[in-house]
Symmetry: C2
Subunit: 421 residues, 2 copies
């Protein structure tokens, strides 16, 4: 699609959303929950329709020689659709966030001030292949009283059209405006760029995907952005660490699910325990055939089965069964390494030293800083939020896992009886 | 300065700030308060030096035929310097925000999670003429544990150099790093643009100034931005309003300080009471020689002393003794007008109707929504924050007056004893 046509299209969607945003913001908790229940029911009832639409995407994937792993991410079968519907039902039980009063107080002049939670308004979400995100993201936005404009990847376009249609029908069936959920009907680069500039209609834009997408959005958007997801996470094994615990935390961080942003990418090891720890770690990681990339000292201890680590091994996310390993002389050296290569996502120290634990938590600049626990816990569900829309690695608005609360903003409501200054 | 030179300069400042950010974030409340006291003392002790530096700016202002009002905004005399120092001392008494635990809880697996307030890190502030902002902004950032890079206007450059030097000396005198406060040594458009792209070093950029500046920053920055200040504020006088109260609220909003963002720019009047209300309002506003710009119906009631309102009268901030007036048929028409022309800052309804008060607060999309009180109260001091860095008109991170808390973000600190997933 041409840039002008794409901009005209997303502007149209923006106008539609803006026109119904007040209705969504004023919807009662019951109305929103009824809509969620209707969506869950419709996903189950229309499973065949979804699988037929998904088949179109899968056929394209085969034609385009997409990898098996990618094809698997695209797949929607009856089981997965039930899983998606179950996710939507879980939202119904979560506490209502709109209307919550964060603070309320009376000023000396009698003004009554209430700082009240309200929806952000119109949220744009740009995401890549997995079609389950379409439903997850839309229903979370809906529960928090927002309108959403979804711009999914072209690989899942047929599935996304079907899922969006089903959600819109279900929303309308309970009397809420179907334009609460809209899909950009053009999964091109141009539509993505057009969304980034839609500041007259979008209150916030959330990119969900790889580092390239996030960077492009952050650099080009005039709409306020929440950056999510890039995680170059470290475990630092301190001199006083419980070595068995450290092995388990490294192994869990690396191998439990290597493709996600809270997976461990580099382990830093205090020199004093490196000769003891490295062989223990290697035995465990060998079970999952993890390829190590180590500094010269690491290779001296473990031998040439460890590849030589280069700058990019420390700087980039593997998102795979690969792990960078570096021996450091001190906590300070570990902190410097993390400051240089970290992406402010999740960092962990394994230690028995109170002083080092405190310094690590104080000085590491990241959304989540762990003492003696796996970085894999940085997750809305694990933090107890019930659901998440992504993990923010920026400092404005939200940091770390973002749940329903992070999809709201505040409004000050001030009641007087004629006060003037 | 050339673009490359400007970028090299601000990058240097960014590196300096980043190098000391951990020290600032770890500074104790006492250290920060000692620094504030030292700054206040030094401002008084070095008053002559400040006035001499300010004289250079004032001389330039005269040479450049700057308006008397602008010259007055630039002026620093002994009284004003005492006022600035007193403002700094007031910060000392405010509660420490860094280290505050917003929430702390234990997960079923025993993980202890603390959501803890930490400084944003490195804050860039781009501002225009008034040199008092230099000290206000820098000391607020310091109190919240942040490093600040100030880019003031060229009109106040000599004053800003002097004030920044004094603050840096004072900060160093109590053992904190002087690079906590830095001034861009080049008040050019290029340095401003360079700051907008300094995403490797700046955690947030706050523009303080006119609508043009804010828009330029929002459109061009790759650094996260907090938009402040543009306020096209309305008072809606409902059919059931206490008319005398409404006159006072309109008069206060328009004339108490017309140049500020929470001043009233348009009054919307319900048709049922327009013939009674307009003459009352005019008598009061005539005391301040307010020029009215009215719709046809308004002019029918008040005559040709009211200028004919055109589109721009509704769309732009006067920031002056000018007021747009429009008669509407209903609350809905008032809401539509505000949705179309408002800037999401402060809006007011004067009414005796509970239903209309609730609908107005529910449906108006603004940072502060008033029932029966002046919009002039949208201010950190008036809201009880003790100080403010500006008024956010965006929805991400902060909305409305921003105090110390809004200069922080959160960090999740997670303590375990070996938990893995």
């Amino acid at each position: 699609m041409e840039q002008n046509t794409a901009f005209a299209h997303v502007t149209e969607l923006g106008k539609n959303a803006k026109a119904v945003a007040v209705k969504l913001a004023s919807a009662s908790p019951k109305q929103k929950n009824d809509a969620l229940a209707a969506i869950a029911d419709a996903l189950i009832a229309r499973t065949e329709e979804i699988m037929t639409a998904n088949r179109v995407d899968l056929d394209h994937a085969v034609e385009n020689n997409m990898s098996r792993a990618m094809q698997d991410r695209l797949l929607l079968n009856a089981d997965r659709i039930q899983g998606i519907a179950a996710g939507v039902r879980k939202l119904i039980a979560l506490d209502e966030v709109v209307g919550k009063v964060d603070e309320g107080y009376v000023r000396p002049n009698g003004l009554q001030i209430r700082k009240t939670r309200v929806p952000l308004g119109v949220i744009g979400i740009i995401f890549e292949s997995r079609p389950n995100v379409t439903v997850d993201a839309a229903t979370l936005c809906l529960k928090a009283g927002n309108c959403v404009i979804l711009r999914g990847g072209k690989e899942a376009f047929s599935s996304n059209v079907c899922l969006t249609t089903i959600m819109r029908d279900a929303i309308a069936s309970v009397g809420l405006p179907k334009d609460a959920v809209q899909l950009v009907q053009d999964p091109s680069r141009e539509s993505s760029q057009a969304l980034m500039k839609l500041s007259d209609y979008l209150d916030v834009l959330i990119p969900r995907g790889g580092a390239g997408l996030i960077r492009a959005v952050a650099e080009n958007a005039s709409v306020p952005v929440i950056r999510t997801g890039t995680g170059n996470c470290h475990v630092f094994v301190d001199a006083s660490a419980d070595l068995e615990m450290a092995v388990n935390i490294v192994d869990n961080g690396k191998t439990q699910r290597p493709s996600v942003c809270n997976a461990v990418e580099t382990v830093l090891i205090h020199r004093d325990i490196a000769a003891d720890f490295l062989p223990m770690m290697k035995v465990k990681l060998d079970e999952h055939k993890v390829q190590l990339h180590g500094c010269a000292d690491t290779r001296e201890i473990l031998g040439n089965c460890v590849l030589k680590a280069v700058e990019s091994d420390y700087a980039e996310e593997y998102l795979d069964y690969q792990l960078a390993v570096r021996i450091v002389d001190s906590l300070d050296e570990a902190l410097d390494h993390i400051a240089k290569y970290g992406t402010n996502h999740s960092e962990c120290i394994v230690t028995r030293s109170l002083e080092n634990a405190r310094r690590f938590q104080q000085e590491v600049d990241a959304a989540a800083v762990y003492v003696n626990a796996s970085t894999r816990f940085t997750d809305g569900g694990e933090f107890g939020f019930g659901a998440e829309i992504g993990i923010s690695t920026q400092k404005l608005h939200a940091r770390g896992p973002m749940g329903l609360m992070e999809l709201t903003t505040v409004k000050y409501l001030i009641d007087g009886d004629g006060q003037i200054r």
